[in-house]
Amino acid sequence: EAGVAQSPRYKIIEKRQSVAFWCNPISGHATLYWYQQILGQGPKLLIQFQNNGVVDDSQLPKDRFSAERLKGVDSTLKIQPAKLEDSAVYLCASSPSGGAEQFFGPGTRLTVL
């Protein structure tokens, strides 16, 4: 079975620019997660979708971050405008029904200069 796909793998932008990341979860997985992983730290949940509805976005900086899940399948995470502290790896994960086992994609490494 194909894993979680993410693109791009790497992105370098200037501060105050905008950027978007794309995620395609494992087929049939209802739950999709976006995590932020800062160097040397564990992943931190930004937002969780169940199908195309938001379950938890309490840790998403909503003044600059937004996310959507199109038709309950693919998802896009956007940052506008980016700050230096947004430099991190953005991980997408999916699970069949939420919680227990989450399958992670390879991540997008964002560098904000």
């Binding site: 564990g42 938890d56 086992e101």
Partner: protein, 110 residues
């Protein structure tokens, strides 16, 4: 707020030795405790997990020990191999809230 504390930050073990990584949690609502393994440039991958109704779970060379009263759990890697060199994250899940530890970078020397 750090809800899962992981130690040590880094660990060096000789091939064939035992690697031990410890985690402690605060929220008693957590009811699922997975360990993830992450290689450079890859996303974390589930290694082994335990629920609080058992005190130990073993899968091959990997064992989780769980102490509910102390709110602590640990990962033991027996007969550590150079291929085990990676970053290991403990995590705790309550409802839909998954919290990760800061990670342990394990290096197994040949």
């Amino acid at each position: 707020q750090q809800q899962v504390k992981q130690s040590p930050q880094s660990l060096i073990v000789q091939k064939g030795g035992i690697s031990i990584i410890n985690c402690a949690y605060e929220n008693t609502a957590f009811d699922y405790f997975p360990w993830y393994q992450q290689f450079p440039g890859k996303g974390p991958a589930l290694l082994i997990a335990i629920r609080p109704d058992v005190s130990e779970k073993k899968e091959g060379r990997f064992t989780i020990s769980f102490n509910k009263s102390a709110k602590q759990f640990s990962l033991h890697i027996m007969d550590s191999q150079p291929g085990d060199s990676a970053t290991y994250f403990c995590a705790a899940l309550g409802g839909h809230d998954m919290r990760f530890g800061a990670g342990t970078r394990l290096t197994v020397k040949p």
